[in-house]
């Protein structure tokens, strides 16, 4: 046992003290930080400046006044603000507070920029303009982009049959921007509804108040407290757990592979085997890299927890999920780690390891392919079946456990039992292959040869 711990300690220190590990450890939080801070700004619709011209043909002229108003810069800015407020209203109170306290100057600047900078010019064409001729205008080169030609239907404002209304056709050039088209759509919708209500002698505000039903306030009730339900989070939570587990397993497994390949290629393996048995070496390596994986997992869980606490959202996580994350992580790590270390033992360098790693990587990434169908229907026959197929069962069961419809408890513990059997088989296989492969150099074996080794040893 002492020798196993000595090997484990060396493995752990040798891995965590490398620059590559420290940089790798920081990259993920940095990427998350960048995605939180930068991407919303890049994708913020209010920062998008609609620039160009939209030509309108209104054959009977019933809607042109409303179209003119709807395309004014003031109305465009007001609609964007209304959309932003709608999104913000759905956010938890803490996020609203943060947005209000931190981002107000930037938001104000963005709004000001969007309002002042929106450069959408409406060009009114004669009511009897030839649509075919006008289409060629879209393709004319010029400094100002020609965004769309809008042709309002005859019955867009006044219904022909008293039941349904027409709409409009929009002709656009090949490189039309979806955001500009959305801008045109929202302006046209506003304009046509205004025209129709006026035509009918109805006050639009009254009509809107009659048909509009605000989304109800969702409150999640727990034994200890109540909190606002955050829509969407429940769907995303499973994949976050799977990513966490993947990061932990991948970091440890990859380190196991590279350290074994390095020890073999630098011929240090035989020196080690003069001091301890292959099984002690295997166990020491797996334990050492398990510590590395725990560091990664612990750091990311800690960071995630700190973020949730700072936003007072920790209640989103059911605490009993964490022990299950731990159990399934241990099962996955031992299974994949054992298989990866056996790959490391039979190859001469990392290049040769790639072909043998391919099936393992496919298995490891399998949960990401099936995340959506499982999270949509956690108790389907497919989801239930793969919960009992090692080595993907741990990821599959974690997806189901963190979903909105957790599986029955007997399935969870049966999956853990299957996982334990998977671990035993993987460790047995690794120990056989490890023992034979360590001192074998030359052409690396294929998968069939590995299986034959395991059966013979």
């Amino acid at each position: 046992m002492k020798k196993i711990l000595l090997v484990a300690g060396r493995e752990f220190v040798a891995t965590v003290s490398t620059k590559a590990f420290i940089i790798g450890l920081l990259i993920m939080p940095m990427m998350i930080g960048v995605s939180i801070v930068v991407f919303p700004r890049l994708l913020n619709p209010r920062n998008y400046r609609t620039q160009g011209e939209v030509a309108v043909i209104d054959p009977n002229g019933r809607a042109i006044a409303d179209i003119r108003t709807a395309f004014s810069q003031e109305r465009i800015a007001e609609r964007r603000e209304a959309t932003a407020r709608q999104v913000m209203n759905q956010a938890p109170p803490e996020v609203k507070e943060l947005a209000a306290s931190r981002a107000t100057p930037q938001m104000a600047a963005a709004v000001a920029s969007a309002t002042a900078g929106s450069d959408l010019r409406l060009i009114e064409r004669p009511a009897n303009a030839d649509v075919q001729k006008e289409k060629s205008w879209l393709l004319e080169p010029g400094e100002i982009r020609h965004l769309a030609l809008v042709v309002v239907h005859d019955d867009a404002v006044r219904s022909k049959d008293g039941k349904s209304y027409g709409s409009y056709d929009a002709y656009v050039p090949a490189n039309a921007d979806d955001r500009a088209m959305n801008e045109v759509q929202s302006a046209m919708q506003e304009a046509l509804v205004n025209a129709r209500t006026r035509e009918q002698g109805i006050d639009r505000a009254t009509a809107e108040s009659l048909v509009k039903v605000e989304r109800g306030k969702l409150v999640t009730v727990t034994k200890d407290s109540e909190r606002n339900t955050i829509r969407g989070i429940n769907g995303i939570l499973p994949i976050f757990f799977v990513i966490l587990m993947f990061m932990g397993v991948m970091t440890g497994g990859q380190s196991l592979l590279t350290s074994t390949v390095e020890e073999k290629s630098t011929r240090v393996m035989e020196v080690l085997l003069s001091a301890l048995s292959p099984m002690e070496l295997l166990a020491g390596k797996i334990v050492g890299q398990f510590g590395v994986s725990l560091i990664v997992l612990g750091l990311y869980i800690g960071l995630g927890g700190a973020l949730l606490i700072s936003f007072a959202l920790f209640g989103l996580i059911n605490p009993w999920l964490l022990p299950y994350l731990g159990i399934f992580f241990v099962l996955s790590y031992l299974t994949y780690g054992s298989l990866m270390v056996s790959v490391g033992a039979v190859v001469n360098d990392m290049r040769e390891a790639q072909s043998l790693m391919m099936p393992l990587m496919l298995l490891l990434t399998f949960p990401f392919w099936v995340w959506f169908p499982i999270s949509q229907n956690p108790n389907s026959a497919f989801a239930t079946a793969i919960s009992f197929v090692p080595p993907v069962n741990s990821f599959a069961m974690l997806l189901r456990l963190t979903s909105t419809s957790p599986p029955p408890w007997w399935q969870v513990w049966a999956s853990i039992g299957v996982g334990v059997v998977g671990v035993v088989v993987a460790v047995w296989f690794a120990s056989k292959v490890f023992k034979i492969g360590l001192l074998m150099y030359g052409k690396p074996p294929n998968v069939a040869t590995l299986i034959r080794w395991a059966r013979q040893a």
Binding site: A14, E263, T266, E270, V271, L272, S274, A275
Partner: protein, 301 residues
């Protein structure tokens, strides 16, 4: 039990290749054995089986009284043919790690490292990274790692390969020091003069089979070439009178004189005075067979 190593009818095959066949070997405690043979003879395979790194297909094996070296690894020092070292580690931590694996008490490790490195002339290398050392220097560090726990049995696989003459001499002296301390030593080599200089006893294998297992003196006696090296006092002297001596079978010319080949059953000491009378000598000496001669003779056979 007085044997450090005992092998009985040990066999090992790799696929269709018979690496070791029915090998019997007994190495008494405190002995210094040379394990010689041409490349590919099975020396490293045998050593790896002794170390329980490889396992025999059949036969019995005991090391320091145990059925497997796994039970006595802390009492065995091993320098493998394929030198291995953690390139990114510093020398001190590497030796500390190896000493701990071999069960050396923590309190004794720093002192043993300092003394060991000083013995191989690397007193200032403790803080250097292994990858910054030359190949020969790395080999010295590995030798220190092999003996840091004062092993009862020291197994060295081709220990002198890749060393310059000065380093080889230094290593040879350290091997003899370990032997003087009481360690049993088994070292393999295909460089015969090394075995001849160091060993009491030689085991030779060829194509996986033992072909020789005797003390060096016995081998030299047994393979007596019946040759007297004769250099005349006068380099221009006529050597034909030597042929008239009945025991002389043949004369082979050399740079400074000749080799006198005696008939089978002749006694060299009784022939020497008559040779000296026939032609005045500057040097007259009974030729001893070298291990290299024996090696070539056995391997060629």
């Amino acid at each position: 039990m007085n044997e450090a190593i005992q092998l009985k009818s040990v066999c090992k095959t790799f696929g269709a290749t018979k690496a070791v066949t029915d090998l019997d070997l007994v190495i008494p405690r405190g002995a210094l054995y040379g394990f010689i043979g041409p490349n590919g003879a099975g020396k490293t395979t045998t050593i790896r089986m002794i170390m329980a790194i490889l396992f025999a297909d059949s036969g019995e094996l005991s090391v320091l009284g145990h059925k497997s070296a796994l039970d006595a690894k802390d009492r065995i020092g091993y320098l493998p043919e394929e030198r291995g070292i953690y390139r990114k580690m510093r020398v001190g931590p590497f030796l500390t790690f190896m000493a701990r694996l071999k069960g050396v008490p923590d309190s004794e490790i720093p002192g043993r490292i300092k003394r060991g490195l000083a013995r191989v002339g690397l007193a200032d290398a403790e803080r250097k990274r292994c990858e910054d050392l030359s190949k020969g220097t790395q080999q010295k560090v590995q030798f220190v790692a092999a003996i840091i726990h004062h092993p009862d049995l020291l197994i060295l696989d081709e220990p002198f390969s890749g060393l310059d003459p000065v380093s080889a001499r230094s290593l040879r002296e350290m091997v003899l020091e370990e032997h003087a301390r009481g360690a049993t030593i088994l070292f393999s080599t295909h460089v015969m003069p090394h075995a001849e200089e160091l060993c009491d006893h030689v085991v030779m294998i060829n194509k996986g089979q033992k072909v020789l297992d005797d003390p060096v003196a016995d081998i030299q006696r047994r393979y007596d070439p019946r040759v007297i090296e004769f250099d005349p006092l006068d380099p221009q002297a006529d050597l034909s009178p030597l042929r008239s001596i009945p025991e002389v079978e043949d004369l082979e010319r050399t740079d400074h004189g000749c080799k006198v080949v005696l008939r089978e059953g002749s006694s060299a000491p009784s022939v020497i005075p008559r040779l000296a009378i026939a032609v005045p000598p500057a040097r007259i000496e009974i030729a001893r067979p070298t291990l290299e001669d024996v090696f070539v003779k056995l391997v060629a056979a």
